[in-house]
Symmetry: D2
Subunit: 434 residues, 4 copies
């Protein structure tokens, strides 16, 4: 059981000697845990050294805390791409620190990890309840963000210089790897700094986490775009609405949106390879659909069909630390046009690429609620002196997970329920491989 992915132990900076100042009077004990595996068949196959089934620590306010609210200084940093709900998390963390624990010294680091590095010249922001009270009505991050890592030693130097005691990191898997490296460097230097991650990926593809914030909003927004594509496809003879959506490594958004608004006739995702040509290929299937129903809506995740693209001109221009993807949207648009030109069938194709519109809206109610709770639990964990961990939702329960366990990507299982439901909703062929 030395596998990092199965080690659910949460580290604490030290003994907790200060009674929590907040009044509600309900506390969660460190020993409260839920099972990792809930399938009847094999729930007790994986065990800890103590012979008990693998289990995960439940989040919540601890009766005793580690940091003195009057002296502690907290910082928040947001990294990676924008995602609905970041401001909600920031707001919740500040509100919770200020009003529940009485922490007054809270700063925001600007432009991601860049904000720690002096050469960029970014000032920090004072975060007060007055300043942040309405930020949940705005999309994006009031702290702004940046992509890419920074030198970990310089980062930790900065954390020391700024006397930060708790660092809340909001970001994706890259950021979480950064947060882990920071935690390790802090441990190495024997510092009493807590690092708490609040995982952010609009794609909802983080290992072990039921749902990442922003995903629900992304689906809401995607659905609106699908409705538009549907309207466009039905508005002209042989209309095709082609929508490219987020999902570099996983098709969760595409599949969920296709299900929620079942006007989608083809959903294409990274996990399910397909052919373009041939009797079973996508283009032939599209032709058959058009012959039968005279319109079609296609939803493609940006990471789908990468193996099909050979034209280097379609390499994505949106640089980042991630692998560069080729633009499947433009590629499909061209291939479809070409195909129907060849078979002399007049079509009306409308191509829509709404990613920036989707990710930069304010969080919807569902995500607002989720972000508010994540912020509350993150603060409880930080004040208790926990470190190197993230807060998340697992089996409908808020839990603590070591950062290392969530850096893996969760895929859509080609043999699972979710993909099955998508096939049912779209009516597309179960396989478009020849």
């Amino acid at each position: 059981m030395k596998n990092k992915l199965y080690d659910f132990t949460i580290k604490t900076l030290g003994e907790r000697k200060i009674p929590t100042p907040h009044t509600p009077g309900y506390f969660t004990d460190d020993k409260k845990r839920i099972l990792y595996n809930v399938n009847l068949e094999n729930f007790d196959k994986l065990k800890n050294g103590d012979g008990l089934p693998l289990s995960i620590e439940v989040a919540g306010p601890r009766e005793m805390i580690y940091f003195d609210p009057a002296k502690v200084k907290a910082a928040i940093v947001t990294c990676g791409g924008l995602c609905p709900g970041i401001n909600d998390v920031i707001r919740s963390v500040v509100m919770q620190l200020h009003y529940l624990y009485g922490v007054k010294n809270i700063v925001g680091i600007r432009y991601g990890f860049q904000g720690f590095i002096p050469k960029y010249g970014h000032d920090v922001m004072e975060l007060t309840p007055e300043f942040i009270k309405d930020i949940h009505t705005l999309g994006g991050s009031i702290l702004a963000s940046s992509r890419g890592g920074q030198d970990i030693e310089a980062l930790v130097d900065s954390i020391c210089r700024m006397n930060i005691d708790i660092l809340f990191c909001i970001g994706g898997d890259g950021t979480m790897r950064g947060a882990e490296a920071i935690t390790e460097e802090i441990t190495k230097r024997n510092l009493n700094v807590s690092v708490i991650g609040i995982p952010k990926t609009i794609d909802n593809d983080l290992n072990l986490i039921d749902k990442t914030f922003g995903f629900d909003t992304a689906i809401s927004e995607t659905i609106k775009v699908i409705q538009c594509a549907h309207v466009e496809s039905k508005g002209a003879p042989m209309g095709i609405g082609l929508v490219k959506i987020m999902g570099r490594q996983s098709g969760h958004i595409a599949v969920s949106a296709a299900l929620a608004q079942n006007d989608v006739n083809f959903v294409l995702i990274p996990e399910i390879p397909f052919d373009l040509e041939g009797e079973k290929g996508f283009l032939k299937a599209l032709e058959r659909r058009l012959q039968k129903r005279r319109h079609a809506v296609i939803l493609v995740a940006e990471g789908a069909g990468q193996d099909l693209i050979t034209n280097d001109e379609l390499a994505q221009t949106d640089a980042s630390g991630n692998v560069r993807l080729k633009d499947i949207g433009i590629f499909l648009k061209n291939k479809i046009s070409e195909y129907f030109r060849k078979i002399e069938m007049e079509i009306n194709l409308k191509y829509i690429d709404p990613s920036y519109i989707i990710r930069s809206v304010p969080a919807n109610a569902c995500d607002s609620l989720y972000c508010a709770i994540l912020g509350q639990y993150a603060v409880h964990a930080g004040m208790a002196g926990k470190t190197g961990m993230v807060v998340g939702l697992y089996l409908n329960e808020y839990i603590h997970l070591p950062i290392s366990t969530v850096t893996l990507r969760k895929k859509v299982d080609p043999n699972g329920n979710m993909w099955m439901r998508a096939l049912e909703a779209t009516g597309q062929p179960p396989s478009m491989k020849n």
Copy 2:
């Protein structure tokens, strides 16, 4: 283990001899089950006769089905109060029956169980994909609904006369009790009719079900109203925004909405009694809040503070099978006005009662997705000949539950996480009892 609430056995009408016609190629076995209890401490305390921990059947398409798609006739009925998502469930059931299983004979029963009783003279509706394709853009139920039960024998007579093989019942706990009685009468008569429930309660207070459809939309809409109340309260000197929201027996909507839009300063729910008068009472707490911040927002669930109301004139006029509630909204409005008049403090109170506006909107994306999936699984269960059961979500997994296990109400635990988070978000006194 003879307790009905712990008996998770699902009944089937008979042997399944017909291969499922739908193509996706993924099937779920009846033996796939998840644990009922996932707390590490006591997960194996409750056991079945076989010595295994209690567990629940997982939903999904079965490889063999019971009904012949070419001959089967399905009916859908919607009962009780309106709730966002009913049309989405209807649409999903029809689409799934029609396109996945090839069932063409689908009818809608009008105005709830009334539609089965000849004396009301309601015609049935043919439900075709063409007819239902856009109904998810409309709130309410295209079948309409009614409250109150009907004579079970007459109902089953009607089911026989109409040759219905599968009955999908969408409704609340009353409806589910009705569905159970129907199932029992069907069993008594030895009929091969499947009864599948899709539980509906906007209050999200059904035992064992993670989340009922419409709840998420209700929160979204409630949040908008809270924002308005907040704007009103801040827009005038000593402004008070008082919002009455659904929640006859439980405060889930109120608590979740207060958390998601944390502009609420007092949330009052049925589970938490409070005093009006006295040093620790609500009115004094409100006065303190106003002195300090000059405005306040109060969110009250309709079932809160029933013990305080003695004036019989405030009995609710909205009749239904439920216990008549006294109108806590009007009552509080009067009591607050009276109190501040007495202490000669000028206030500006704005009272908002938005329940009908909230429950009659179309489902949002999150609920649309959930309804679509519930509809798919309900059809899989029905075609497999399961009966006397509901589909739902438990620990993030779609499952089958005997109807009898879900007719209990789930409350907000006064000592639980959720209420603790609400106290944190509102900053209200942990107790307003003297």
Copy 3:
């Protein structure tokens, strides 16, 4: 032509000697005017002393201005009930003053005219671009408001003491009467203070003004409520959706909303009296409608049918300077219930009173645009030293009007186009008087 209502002369504080600092290079001359009357039949019936048809001054930037941007101090005050768009106007005025004219000294007066009176102890707010940049995303008024007038002399004393040079008043007809009185007092004292009104009435019933801001948003929001009422009415046997909407003295919102969402079957407004009882009365008409179509939606403006209400218990509790209205919504609800109880016809009535929800949302795009432009023109007028005037839209052109000309109420003409269209859209009897 000494009638105040036809005197369209705009006063200026004095000679304009300073070239406007703003660059766009387009200016409007004071002489640019549009006709008051555009009907071919009688356009030249009303003439000025100079023998020309009556005409109105066109708004816009003047080449020379009166106030020195470096020295001028501007103040903004918002009075009366909330209305969508107030924050948009504030934002536009501040942005325009700051960026276009270089005015840095801008303050906001809190809680309406109360903010001028020292005894209330309200501080002023510094209004900077940074502070106001996102306020259009919030409903209400960031300055807050209050109802009722204050002592004019004390008010002008305060204006002097604060060295205010330009006062922007956002408010309804009461506020405009106050602004006129302030202008007169200022003139009497020989002060060089400009008073510019931006008329606000959600009811869109200001004389001469094509459209007041907030009206479009109010209709958008009302439509949503009508949709809900429609869904409710169709969701139950013999369902009735009854919606009470703003409109104390005029039915513009009710009529426009009924037209835009033509699910309304009866629209009742102050301008059109109706009977309850009798063969031609409203209740009989409602009964006929229900018999024929089994559901009905009624939209009633709050000032409708006041002559019918004798029960003093229904006097409105929302105090203000306005005449106290009796609550037609509750009254109708009771009368309808009583009537159908008497004739033993079972109905399902749902009553909705959404006024506070409607008026406190942020402005929609249409109103945002309108408010942005009104703010721009108000600043141009103020900087040019105009006074005692309002900016508005007349025949699709932005114009200046003396305050005195707009304090009258515009009614829905019972013999006009608008009411005719409403009758067509609802299908209600042209008259419900016996």
Copy 4:
């Protein structure tokens, strides 16, 4: 005065002998007219032969009608690009014909003028109140549309063969030219067929018409996208949000949206030429903006800067009867990237092209209301036997205009109020020409 553009005479098919069946009891006389020109300076410069100022016929129900409701057959056709509100107009026309005049024979022509031509094989649609009652909740056109004209004689043959008496044409300037040709052919053949246009252009650039339907919705939607672009631009170091919006020949949408949501820093439209390079050019201005504020939002109408594009690869792929435009969005994106790469300044550019999303949403309240009224007046005009005309809004009054007068495009006046306001709102240099 033989100029077609100033000839406001409306043709009628013949004498009106049938009393209008609709009850409201309010009628508009043919003689009711409003002035064409309302500027005081020159209102009487343009005169008719009769010596009166030019004037325009007011719309409304006539007391006597031409067509017998029991026998008349009406048809509706929708042509050109999608636009919010088409379904609202269809709905209003059908409701008005059916309920007000008692016309039962109403058909919809599918896929624009193609639907008249037998070789395309498109069936007509029966349009009943039941069928169309909820179509305003859907974007697009339930009749679908197509671009391009068809043979006029074949079209009129078809109209005859189908016994159509009134043809309602919903479309843009191309369609209106088609409608005029149809009217002429009908006149030539001496047929008693009325042709009524309801002008549609999302760009709001029709001569003489205050506002075309769909424009308001387009602005609402554009604003949302601008907000996203703003969030994106502020979310990353040196962020640029670049949005391409509709507007082939005019910048009305771009200018109005920039004003309504004044987060736009540069608005580029067809009417205002600009340079890219040079000290006064756009790129230098953008650089200055970024240096000063670190982010920028650019809104470009698709017809802007066409003279700058020489690369033929950027020719627009969306074919239609219109002149092919080169893609200014992609062009600017490339030029901006290139420029900052050259001066070694790191930027983060996000490009958004939302046109299909904007035009395919359902109409908002403002447009719904406008469409409802246009439909009502179109029916009044058609039933009165008027022909060769359109209904529209002029100086806030609903009027009749000969089709020939509205086929010209209305531009944004570079010396006018509107452009001045846009310059003020954006703060961009008044000229970006060297």
